[in-house]
Symmetry: C2
């Protein structure tokens, strides 16, 4: 075991966009677990748009502060355990933060199943897959034959949402940035159509791709794309509110989309915000269904693995700029 | 029967706020019913914020156009019937528009029960009462002990929403314009607290009135009040989206409330838009329950009756400015 613990610290709370200097790398001693604790070694850190939102203020977790080790969920291995519930070698998903080693209370952790490739525990069998599954099926309530639109469709969650919608018999339209991603959605992931939000005329393009309107919109981005979808919703449509990545990397948003709440009323829409832990009670059943789809080849898993703890800042900055396809993670050890 | 039919016509589609010259009064011959039609005499015209929204574009009904007789729901009496389903003297609720007489298809109309005072058919047993009932109970899903906030709380719908929330054991907070209305809510209608949105510091006042946050917000107004409530919602709160009167009388809204969709996600809110006809299947049960509350004195009905067809434009302009308390209607005959 190494004697030092490399850490990436939030140097200051960002004003405007993240830059590499928002972070700095430091070293400390490997921490010692107390009673009931485990010492974890970070294997793969999950990169998520929400990481940026945590810098904006309290969300479903406390806000980050300058000087904190940057927070982040990771696949980690138990190195030392002072708890009967976990043993060295066990793998867990934990908020280790951006560092080699972390000490956490064992009682909040659950041993993950042995599974290959192990990265799937962060993508399709992790937060991304479960977020897609519950957000689409519970909040979106899609019915066969309906039109489902998802934004950030080439991302970790969106790429799974669209494929589950297809499995459920829906017409599926992805919104993504750039022709290459749009092409991938249709050619490789089986979307019926894709709309490039970086091209002109988003609202018109969306209308063209959804001539009968949108029954279910799975929103990962907020902002102008949310607004364009809102105007194209069908009566009694549902919007699953998963995130607002367009609003995270910069100052707090000055205002919300046009049409709220007027269109919610006249179209009788239901909007539901969620985070994945709201559905913890149904997690095992969801994982079993996801596993069946992956094994049958109906659900393709895209991952984007970058090596090296020191590359975490650039990996997050790039994710917020939309450079990844599928689930981005950084291999630390 | 009169030989002429007084009509108030939409002179032009308004730019900005309604003024008396948005309308003009004219006369035509009393129309003649065809096969399956009835000739209706308008008794009381219902004034509703939605009347203004109909001038902005298609909603749940087609947009109004210049030269149209102004649309409006009314309590009306059958004068002549070419249908076996209705007889002279029967009373119905119908979109007669702002005129003395109208011909409509009988098959879309339902005979109303005999009931005194007859005006209750437009208030507590009409669209206002049913909107309050279904919006609060179905979309809001309040539980005893929760905090329910309603905007336009002294209006036709809001005054009933707050009282039903009290009946259901909720802490009830009304938002209204001016000290007189706020006073009425607390002293006469049994609200636990009232917040004056015209005074400074709405968001702070709301926090003071709802120290634990808002579980259910019944939104009649949209705009800044919606935004203030959104920021004060509790996790897993519900917003019943009933209307956006703050946005109707003027140009189309430039943008939506801050916090959409970010706060919907982090607070895991559910927003649901509705119109009363979505719940037609449950109408009789709702009316029976409303009737029980009115007869027991638990639900007080406030009405604001103005006499004279010629006063319809001023009555609507005043309603949009918030001058009414309770259900506003104009007695035509």
């Amino acid at each position: 075991m190494a004697q030092t613990n490399r850490q990436i610290v939030l140097d200051h709370l960002p004003q405007g966009r993240l830059t590499p200097s928002t972070f700095r790398q430091t070293e400390s001693a490997v921490p010692t677990p107390g009673e009931g604790d485990v010492l974890l070694r970070t294997l793969y850190v999950s990169l998520d748009a929400a990481n940026r939102a945590w810098m904006q203020g309290a969300t479903y977790r406390a806000a980050l502060a300058a000087g904190d080790v940057m927070a982040g969920g990771a696949l980690a291995e138990v190195v030392q355990s002072n708890s009967p519930d976990l043993a060295p070698g066990d793998r867990v998903f934990a908020d280790t933060g951006w560092q080699d080693y972390a000490v956490l209370k064992a009682k909040h952790l659950h041993k993950l199943p042995a599974l290959e490739p192990v990265t799937h525990l962060l993508s399709v069998y992790g937060v991304a897959g479960l977020t897609a599954y519950f957000g689409l099926l519970e909040c979106g309530q899609p019915r066969a034959g309906e039109t489902v639109v998802v934004s950030a469709a080439a991302g970790s969650v969106g790429s799974i949402v669209g494929q589950i919608a297809k499995i459920k018999g829906c017409r599926t339209v992805g919104i993504a940035g750039g022709a290459a991603k749009c092409d991938l959605l249709v050619r490789e992931l089986g979307f019926d159509a894709a709309v490039d939000y970086k091209a002109d005329g988003l609202r018109r393009a969306l209308r063209g791709a959804c001539p009968d309107g949108i029954d279910v919109y799975f929103d990962n981005v907020g902002g102008d794309v949310f607004e364009a979808c809102l105007f194209n919703m069908k009566t009694h449509g549902r919007i699953a509110c998963c995130g607002a990545v367009s609003q995270y990397d910069g100052d707090a948003p000055a205002h919300g989309p046009r049409g709220v709440p007027g269109l919610i009323v006249t179209k009788r829409l239901t909007l539901r915000g969620f985070i994945v832990s709201d559905f913890d009670a149904h997690r095992d059943a969801a994982l079993a269904e996801l596993k069946g789809w992956v094994e049958s080849g109906q659900l393709k898993v895209r991952e984007d693995v970058i090596a090296g703890l020191e590359n975490l800042p650039a990996a997050l900055i790039g994710l917020l700029a939309g450079e990844n396809i599928g689930k981005r993670m950084v291999k630390v050890a």
